[in-house]
């Protein structure tokens, strides 16, 4: 029985909790990509950089608040700076729309051209970030680092295995729940949300029924800004902030959005968790888990690892390719908000 509990704790500690927090970050990112895809109808390669931009502004204001000795006690100061980051990210996304994307929307350009344009935007934002904050790795989480340390847990329960709970993980999960609830409530219950869904379902019909496309697009960019900034900041808070990481993050985010069924917000969220869990589960060495579960004679000799951790990114793409081959529309049929 004790062994069984120990093995469960191992799973919780190394797979489930990291999986949920990484999955939440991916889900928020994928939700942003999905909104752009469903309303504006292109794959936004700049999304990773928008996330990075939001995180950067949050970091700058975190530093400012820290220098002023304003803090939240046990909570990280970044939470206080997050609203500023969100506003800045919204402004950035609206500016990028007004000066860049709007023109092509009015021209009714094909999606590929818009994707190319988003690559241009990606380069520009990327440069701005590097010019402002450089390329160094930045750790900006302060406050209490752990809600529960592995040692505490061991003492508390008397088990062999410790369960560590980082505060950044809990914050990630809580904020994600909050934000997702709000987003889905917004889409389902408010008038603007309903008009967005109508617009994504059938643009011509929506225009005919008097929906103002500019307003829909404007709202979309606001939502995208909020989601991107929160996702970027949470990722930076959990791991550490590094401008280069966010370009690599775009690909798992796209994978999540497509796996879930691109255009479907619920699918994007599910896709985020699917990708996160499969990345972690395929590359985790299960030796410890089996040592507890199996009798001594059957103990595995190797690490019981399907793939080495080096292939973490490769896993998400393999899933993407498999899903596209078997079910091209994703897990949940996409295209409509």
């Amino acid at each position: 029985m004790i062994d069984f509990l120990n093995s469960i704790i191992v799973l919780l500690n190394f797979i489930i909790i990291p999986g949920i927090s990484y999955g939440s970050q991916l889900a928020l990112g994928a939700l942003g990509v999905t909104f752009v895809y469903a309303i504006l109808r292109f794959a936004n390669f700049a999304h990773g950089e928008i996330m990075s931009f939001g995180a950067m502004i949050t970091i700058l204001f975190t530093w400012f608040f820290q220098s002023q000795n304003i803090g939240l006690g046990i909570l990280p100061t970044a939470l206080l700076a997050l609203p500023v980051g969100i506003i800045a990210t919204i402004i950035l996304s609206i500016i990028s729309d007004k000066f860049v994307f709007q023109y092509y929307r009015y021209q009714k350009s094909v999606p590929v051209v818009l994707a190319m344009v988003s690559i241009g935007v990606m380069f520009v934002i990327n440069a701005i970030i590097r010019i402002i904050i450089g390329t160094e790795t930045i750790k900006f989480s302060d406050g209490q680092k752990f809600i529960m340390k592995a040692k505490q847990f061991k003492v508390m329960t008397g088990l062999n295995e410790g369960l560590a709970l980082k505060s950044s993980q809990v914050i990630t999960i809580l904020i994600t729940i909050l934000l997702l609830t709000f987003t889905f409530w917004f889409l389902q219950k408010t008038k603007t949300g309903k008009s967005m869904r109508a617009f994504s379902d059938n643009e011509d019909l929506a225009l005919l029924s008097g929906i103002n496309p500019d307003k829909v697009v404007f709202t979309t960019w606001i939502i995208v800004g909020v989601l991107a900034c929160v996702a970027g900041t949470l990722y930076g808070l959990d791991k550490s902030y590094k401008p280069i990481i966010y370009l690599n993050l775009v690909l798992p985010i796209f994978a999540s959005a497509i796996v879930g069924g691109i255009g479907s917000p619920f699918g994007a969220v599910v896709g985020g968790y699917v990708i996160a869990f499969s990345e972690i589960m395929v590359t985790y060495a299960y030796k410890k888990f089996f040592v507890y579960l199996l009798p001594n004679s059957l103990e595995p000799s190797g690490l019981v690892q399907l793939l080495s951790t080096d292939y973490k990114f490769a896993v998400s793409f393999s899933i993407l390719v498999i899903v596209l081959l078997i079910r091209p529309s994703g897990i949940f049929k996409g295209r409509v908000l």
Binding site: F42, A43, V100, Y103, P111, V112, V113, A115, M116, V117, I119, G120, V121, M122, F123, V124, I125, N126, A127, I128, R130, I131, G134, T135, L247, L251, F254, A255, I258, S308, D310, Y311, F313, A314, S316, F317, S318, L320, V321, L324, L325, P328
Partner: protein, 457 residues
Amino acid sequence: MMNFERYEWLAITIMISLFIFVGFIQGWSVSLVILNMCIISAIMTMGVNISWGYAGVINFGVMGFLAMGGLAAVLVSYPPIAESWQAGGRGLGISFALLVVLVVAVMYINKTVSQKRNRYIYNSLIIFFGILIIRHFYLNATHNIEDVNPAIAGFLGGLGLPIIFSWIVGGLFAAGVAFVIGKVALGLRSDYLAIVTLGISEIVVSVLKHEEWLSRGVKNVIGLKRPVPYEIDLQNADWFINLIKYLNSSKLNNIIDVSDRQQVLNNLIIDGSGIFVKLSYAILFLIVMLIIFYFANKAQLSPWGRMMRAIRDNETAANAMGKDVVKQHLIIFVIGAAIVGVAGAMLVTLDGLFTPSGYRPLRFTFIIWIMVIVGGSGNNLGAIFGGFVIWFSWIEAAPLTTFIINQLTAGLEPTNALKLHLLDSVPYFRYLFMGLILLLILRYRPKGIIPEKVRHS
């Protein structure tokens, strides 16, 4: 062979004069270094342009195909390591044989078992256990190989042939990978295809990074043999010294003192050897570029090229006319990838080293795409022009930015924090330039600087 319009001659003149300009300002060595990379970029750009410009097939896997070309350079030119083969050759052989058996078994099941559910069950069972068995042999063998002298070897080595053969082999490698990707992904819509090819190229690079027995992974392969002479050999070769003497005879004759003259001559020989090496590379690359350019143009003007344009402009109509769109898409995707693979092998040849961790999408996929868009998709001269201009600005962005920042902040003190910060960030301004160039071109000249010629005939 072909008639250039006036503005095309202008573009060619601009390209040539850029290098002469840099040659006079920053020295011929710098100019030739940039020229070599420009030629390689132009070849990559032509590769992408063939699939995108001719047929509208998007290929974001440039990085992966370049890496395959680079791998070819290693596998062709590096001398074979006998101990590694002894240590793990047999195990690898067994695992590859088993892999073939597995594939054949799966194909056999697909052919004989008609019920869909049974087929899935048999396939997954056979793949699962097959991989378990293969893993056993494979991991043992690779582990043994990687243990052989890990500081300098630790991989299988190559064939020890002249590296110039790898340019063809690199093309074949890339074509092979492209064939598999194309079979899997080409049915997808263009933006999905972009993401999938980008993702698969990441997988290719991560395999090269971590399969040390094959490519030495992140430990890199250095000291690949060159197709051109080494500087040190040139400096001791009589004919080269005589050549330098002959070229600089007037300058040397003016110096009366013998030891001074020897000193000057030595410096000239050292400089000259570097330039000679780079020039030989440039000539080799130029030959390859012109060959590819010639055939690309031929193909574009041929009936096959016309069919490609028809498919690009209206897939449904072309299909209705009896053209096999899927097959043609696959063909053009593979050809484009092969050209990119050739460029990848040339890139490694030029550097003399293979660094898998150096392949990043920003540098090796997106920049190439900017070259294609800026140059003009569907026009080979445009592709070359895009490759030259973008690589040139990528390199020259840093000196230009330093100049601009110094001008703008001339009023500030040299210790001003803003000025120092800006000067520290000079290398990042090139991304800004790239983004702005792409956005401006897409906005005001969406067909590129040298657009595709519309032929009415």
